[in-house]
Symmetry: C2
């Protein structure tokens, strides 16, 4: 389940934000530039995946990170990790390839 949850870019951003410090729904909504219900919906998914916890303080909800389920992702990734020799070089090569491919896809979409 964790993989599906992380597939959403918005949800990864939420986790990245919560990595710094706990946040209110309102703060997240502002930083993500989406509607409040949209944010709440993503938070619900993250909650059910166990990736975030909530503390209620009056009407406010403090959302904080719970990284435990990420261990599942890490575990899946583990047997692959030795395979790319220089990890950072591989990432850079991949990102370059991405840029090239996106350009190619745009060309393709113009047909």
């Amino acid at each position: 389940m964790t993989f599906e949850v992380l597939a959403e870019p918005v949800r990864r951003r939420i986790l990245d934000l919560l990595r710094e410090r706990p946040r209110l729904v309102g703060e997240l909504t502002a930083e993500l530039g989406l509607s409040q219900p949209g944010t709440s919906k993503h938070l619900r998914v993250l909650r059910e995946a166990g990736l975030v916890r909530v503390r209620a303080q009056a009407q406010r909800r403090w959302y904080e990170l719970d990284p435990a389920p990420l261990a599942e992702v890490d575990a899946w990734l583990a047997p692959y990790r030795w395979m790319w020799a220089d990890r950072f070089d591989a990432l850079e090569r991949h990102l370059d390839a991405d840029a090239a491919q996106e350009a190619a896809q745009e060309t393709e979409e113009e047909r």
Copy 2:
């Protein structure tokens, strides 16, 4: 893009199979228990994500793993990695929680 591609359980299984050795489309189709076009469709997605490469030999296509894009996932995961103290304990706890939650969800779905 890599995260979205990995969200599909079937595609993760394909990668796991290719981690052992390159395979033909037919072999994968058999092991995945899905239609041949279904398999080809997933392979196309994996190809476009740069996660697999193909070598043609007559009508046969040997698919092999290319782990490079996984570096992107690893890079995203990196700043979280220190956060779960004992990695394996965290995973076990999470998997236990999963089982409990799935049971709870089934109960919920019965309404």
